[in-house]
């Protein structure tokens, strides 16, 4: 098996050695929306198209690559010089806002070992230099549609090592040692979850599920990973299957991500052909199959028991836990559910060891976290930073402050289940515990920045409208409570509410969060609570005085 990997590696190296420059055009959804595919076509035409008589063969090759990070300046194009291999971020040239007309200019310049200065994207900025890439190590470097490039970048080597040289327990030990915690937002120790599933009775059928139902509005990390490096998820899941003793896996992907679904399907087929998935993986007796299940646009399906119901073909409604899916999951069998980013961390941990992973981050939150930086900051895009970095560093240094000259007022983490953190708390390190203390959560990694022009009551109302629409309707506190919370916020925002309404709002918040069945309802009041905590004056400004007769009635009573 290792021979076959070496052969693929050698072939890839030879292909790269035939040219002087490799041009990578971002073909992830964001850049595609800005005609990234046409830019790639333009490059390919420029290289392979008709040439003047006697001109030397082109010194460049062009390929599609995954997300290059700085989505707001797309389409992005990277040019890597051959002797710089293996390229790190600093040694390649990056172009931003590339149009179809720029392609010939870039080609021409690099044929003459020059660059095109006017569309050059500076890579010596904190946005690029402060990042540490574990999950995104291949993003923007390899062609996501070719398994050969993933293998050439040491892909599937961790799987080979796990199934041929390690016992399942050793694999789990390595994950435990890494201190990896669930990247879907909850932060449950991954090693512990794996141990629980592995300990379930041996004769039981077990399942591995990858939660790729990225429902938080404003979060696109999972989409990017799936589109840029789909094999990483397959490898992570297969290692998980080996470790816990499962032979079947499901990837539950949002139906809204057609590109990611397509690339995953392709990747699964390629992996089967290379014998790193399917029966007798890498020549061993270990079998593992992966199937894709499509979500159909229900936010609640991100909750694990609802997701399981959805895979079973039912309405995505959660059920009370315990029993947790680790004991009683898909078709009442022990099931391991992890998020996309969690699985994306598995292969590097096996390859480099748990201690290596634990050397990044803080004492309680190890490793890195991918954030989708969006909103009012100058630089929107995908970043991977070590845990423990402060919000100030993310927003002001990596994000480059606001684009429009306004002051950044708050960041919102964790989507509709998270909270708003005001600028005065920006020195807070980003880890699971610190964010929780501020009434927010790590969440899956959406980080929305807001400037002074955003009204926090409006923001809270926006999230409550979302929760109201997405409530599955199973339990009353969530189904009815979110509607009333939304109505109250609407009343406040439209300047019709009194102090009494505000008191009712606060009471209802604790009621809904304490009595709802699942995470959706329990966390739904978080945006209100955190904005009330840090931006109470914005609520008070909108309140009107009680009508006179109401006050006199109270006095009389």
């Amino acid at each position: 098996m290792i021979d076959r990997f070496e052969k693929i590696k050698r072939k890839e190296r030879e292909a790269a050695a035939g040219v002087d420059y490799t041009i990578g055009v971002c073909v992830a959804a964001s850049c595609l929306s800005l005609q990234g595919d046409k830019v790639l076509d333009a490059f390919q035409e420029g290289i392979e198209g008709p040439k003047e008589e006697g001109s030397p063969p082109s010194r460049c090759r062009a390929k599609g690559v995954g997300c290059l990070g700085l989505c707001s300046r797309g389409p992005l194009v990277s040019v890597t010089k051959q002797q710089d291999q293996p390229a790190d971020d600093q040694s390649r040239v990056l172009y931003q806002d590339v149009t179809v007309d720029d392609a010939p200019r870039i080609l021409e310049a690099h044929e003459a070992d020059k660059t095109v200065p006017d569309i050059l994207c500076p890579t010596d900025t904190p946005f690029f230099e402060r990042q540490i890439k574990i999950v995104l190590e291949n993003s923007g470097k390899i062609d996501p549609t070719r398994i050969e490039e993933y293998i050439a970048a040491d892909g599937y080597h961790a799987l080979l090592e796990a199934v041929t040289e390690m016992t399942p327990n050793q694999v789990i030990d390595e994950i435990v040692r890494s201190g990896l915690r669930g990247r879907g937002g909850g932060g449950y120790p991954t090693g512990l979850k794996w141990t629980t599933v592995a300990k379930a009775q041996e004769e039981k059928v077990k399942y591995v599920i990858c939660n790729a139902d990225e429902g938080d509005p404003g979060a696109f990390m999972d989409r990017s990973v799936l589109e840029s490096d789909p094999h990483r998820i397959i490898e992570g899941m297969t290692i998980a299957g080996y470790a816990v003793g499962a032979s079947r896996g499901y990837i539950y992907v949002r139906g809204e991500y057609p590109l990611a679904i397509g690339r995953l399907k392709k990747a699964i087929n390629q992996a089967r052909r290379q014998n790193v998935l399917g029966n007798g993986i890498c020549g061993t007796t270990f079998n593992f199959q992966i199937e894709i299940r499509l979500g159909a646009g229900a936010f609640v399906c991100g909750e694990e028991t609802a997701l399981i119901a959805s895979i079973e073909g039912k309405r995505g409604q959660p059920r009370p836990r315990p029993p947790y899916p680790a004991e009683l999951g898909l078709w009442h069998e022990p099931t391991l559910i992890n998020n996309v980013e969690t699985f994306a961390n598995i292969a590097p941990i096996i390859r480099n060891g748990g201690d290596w992973f634990a050397s990044y981050g803080t004492a309680t939150s190890n490793g890195t976290k991918v954030f989708a930086l969006a909103g009012s900051v100058a630089k929107n895009g995908l970043i991977e930073v070590p845990m423990g970095i402060t919000l100030h560093e993310i927003v002001e240094e990596l994000g480059g402050g606001t684009a429009n000259g306004h002051q950044i007022k708050a960041v919102q983490t964790g989507g509709p289940s998270g909270g708003c953190i005001p600028a005065s708390y920006f020195e807070t390190p980003v880890d699971y515990e610190s964010l929780k203390k501020l009434g927010s959560i790590m969440g899956s990694g959406g980080l929305i920045t807001m400037d002074e022009t955003s009204n926090m009551v409006d923001v809270a109302r926006y999230f409550m409208e979302f929760c109201m629409a997405e409530s599955c309707g199973k339990c009353v506190p969530c189904r009815v409570g979110t509607v009333h919370l939304h109505n109250l916020l609407d009343k406040i925002y439209n300047g019709k509410a009194t102090h009494k309404d505000l008191a009712l709002l606060e009471r209802l918040c604790s009621f809904v969060s304490e009595t709802s069945l699942c995470g959706l309802g329990q966390a739904a009041p978080n945006p209100i609570r955190s904005t009330l905590r840090f931006f109470r004056e914005e609520y008070l400004d909108l309140l009107v005085d009680e009508p006179v007769h109401a006050i006199s009635e109270e006095v009389a009573a």
Binding site: G74, P217, G218, A219, G313
Partner: protein, 165 residues
């Protein structure tokens, strides 16, 4: 085990073969319901009563459950869409960057609400909760193609090209 007789497709339309193929691939198990409904919607554009009944009997699932599932999930449409669709993203990043103005403008100019289709059956207006292209917010999807960095005027201008064809 008694082999159950397969329900015949509602019509001779060859497109039912795609639906059959999905169900067969999943062994006609009840768990294939969502997958099958996806295929029906992909092939026919929406789910009508006829197809729901057919899927229900083929998968041996109560019609109530099929109807429940198809109304629970936002992606399933029980009404035919117009010739063209415009999906405005109302995710957080787009909201912060003014997607509500964009939506209002389209609603006003075409006199339709999200989920509705223009009377001439040309354009269906829909909303989505984040399409994951937050870096170029606000965005809308026109017939499957994502358009980023929109303004209200630009969003309407992109719709105007659908008017005449």
């Amino acid at each position: 085990m008694i082999k159950q007789k397969q329900a015949a497709p509602p019509s001779d339309d060859v497109r039912w073969r795609f639906v059959m193929a999905t169900m067969r691939r999943n062994g006609f198990r009840r768990s294939a319901l969502i997958e099958t409904l996806h295929t029906v919607q992909e092939t026919f554009g929406f789910l009508d009563e006829e197809s729901l009944r057919y899927v229900a009997s083929s998968l041996n699932t109560p019609l109530s459950q099929v109807y429940g599932v198809s109304t629970f999930y936002h992606l399933f449409k029980l009404k035919p869409a117009g010739k063209h669709t415009c999906v405005v993203c109302t995710g957080t990043a787009c909201y912060i960057k003014g997607s509500s103005n964009l939506l209002k403008q389209v609603e006003k100019d075409y006199d339709i609400k999200p989920g509705e289709t223009t009377p001439d059956n040309q354009i269906s207006l829909l909303t989505a909760r984040c399409v994951g292209a937050c870096g170029v917010a606000p965005v809308a999807i026109y017939d499957g193609t994502i358009q980023g960095e929109l303004t209200a005027d630009k969003a309407v201008a992109l719709l105007e090209r659908y008017q005449d064809d």
